[in-house]
């Protein structure tokens, strides 16, 4: 289906084309409004557009790899990246759901205070207390637990190498801390 979608891609792409690609290609995983219904795929609604652009380029350059996304990205003309970011960035993010409040409380402690013994910085330092991020650091609030966990694991393993600071953080976080953070972030 993805290949078929790309065969339709024209050589030059307008904003309308980007919207069409978003609806026919991206929405299968990320949802029409960027609020992915599947916890394996990230919600991207409301994310900073420059951040979205950087990630698309990182997938295209191979600095970020993912079983699904790495396959999709090669079917896209890089000229459409800005249009895709402009499509999803302004979408309204939907809240996530905390399933284990006790775990979330542990996550809050790490999110707000870090771990001074292991040198984990507070997530809030960059991503803000409300998890909404800014132009430099991505929005985390409301993200699916499974997706957050996978990213932290991918930073740790080096599979995701888009940010050396997050590689350091991923390596310093314990598995329990990562789980707790993912739970807390879902509720932000």
């Amino acid at each position: 289906m993805l290949v078929a979608a790309c065969l339709l891609c024209p050589a030059t792409l307008s904003a309308a084309d980007a919207g069409e690609i978003a609806r026919t290609v991206c929405a299968a995983c990320h949802g029409l409004d960027g609020n992915s219904p599947d916890p394996a795929h990230p919600k991207i609604a409301g994310m900073d557009q420059e951040y979205l652009m950087r990630q698309l380029k990182a997938f295209a350059d191979g600095k970020r790899r993912d079983e699904t996304m790495s396959g999709v990205i090669v079917s896209l003309d890089p000229a459409v990246f800005a249009g895709l970011a402009a499509y999803y960035g302004p979408q309204k993010p939907k809240p996530g759901q905390v399933k284990d409040p006790q775990l979330a409380a542990k996550g809050r402690a790490v999110y707000e205070d870090g771990n001074t013994d292991t040198g984990v910085p507070a997530c809030a330092g960059c991503h803000q207390s409300d998890g909404k991020g800014n132009a430099r650091f991505p929005r985390l609030a409301g993200q699916h637990q499974a997706y957050t966990l996978k990213q932290l694991a991918d930073y740790k393993s080096g599979r995701r190498a888009t940010d050396p600071l997050m590689t350091t953080v991923g390596k310093r976080l314990s598995t329990d801390e990562a789980k707790a953070l993912a739970e807390y972030i879902a509720g932000l």
Binding site: G119, G125, C126, F137, P164, L165, T168
Partner: protein, 221 residues
């Protein structure tokens, strides 16, 4: 030794011949290109506030540090001191494994260092720093006034132009931690007179002088 002296010989012909006899006193703060560039760059506090975001996860909002001494207060510190310490950490002249990834070349540019230092120097210093037990303040004051005040200032305000840090407003536990490292020869980028001043301090004396410093009024600059 000679290679460390060469830059001085080029710059100041007299200074080095004296220094060759004993470790050059300048070695603790010898120039190297990146530090020199950061010191020469004009720091912008507004840009520094943004660049500092990657630091505040540990040093906290407002750069107030933590009373448990795990991360020092940086607010109100002299920009020169901050630049030297940051440049020393990332060039390996000061060991700090926790901080290194957040200070290395992937994390910060030279301009970022200058901007962050300008931002931090101008931050307010509230009197909320962590203090010690307060059991030996008389001795702490005597030691400080005898051994420390001449460089750090009797009010602990430091001397920015000489790279001597402000110690007032700093957390007691951080002062104690670094005091021990300096006394025990583990802070390699320290002024030799600083190391000599406390070389014979007992743990109790270090404790007393740290407690005194952490209680100095924070208004002094």
């Amino acid at each position: 030794m000679l290679s460390r002296c060469l830059p001085f010989m080029l710059l100041a012909t007299l200074g080095c011949t004296v220094a060759l006899a004993s470790p050059p006193p300048e070695a603790w703060n010898a120039p190297y290109p990146e530090k020199t560039a950061a010191l020469a760059a004009k720091g912008d506090p507004a840009r520094g506030a943004s660049a500092f975001e990657i630091c505040q996860g540990c040093h906290r909002a407002g750069a107030l540090g933590r009373p448990d001494g795990s991360y020092p207060r940086l607010a109100g510190q002299h920009a020169t001191v901050l630049i030297k310490q940051l440049a020393d950490v990332r060039s390996g002249r000061r060991s700090n494994e926790k901080m290194l990834p957040f200070a290395d070349h992937q994390a910060l540019t030279v301009q970022d260092i200058a901007d962050i230092a300008a931002y931090l120097q101008a931050l307010p210093v509230p009197p909320t720093q962590g203090q010690g037990p307060g059991t030996d303040l008389v001795q702490g004051r005597q030691l400080f006034e005898r051994d420390c005040g001449v460089c750090h200032g009797q009010r602990g305000e430091g001397k920015g132009e000489q790279f001597f840090p402000r110690v007032s407003g700093q957390h007691y536990r951080y002062l104690l931690r670094e005091g021990r490292l300096i006394r025990d020869g583990q802070r390699r980028n320290v002024h030799p007179e600083m190391a000599a001043a406390i070389a014979r301090y007992t743990d109790e004396e270090l404790d007393a002088v740290s407690d005194h410093m952490a209680r100095l009024p924070v208004g002094g600059r």
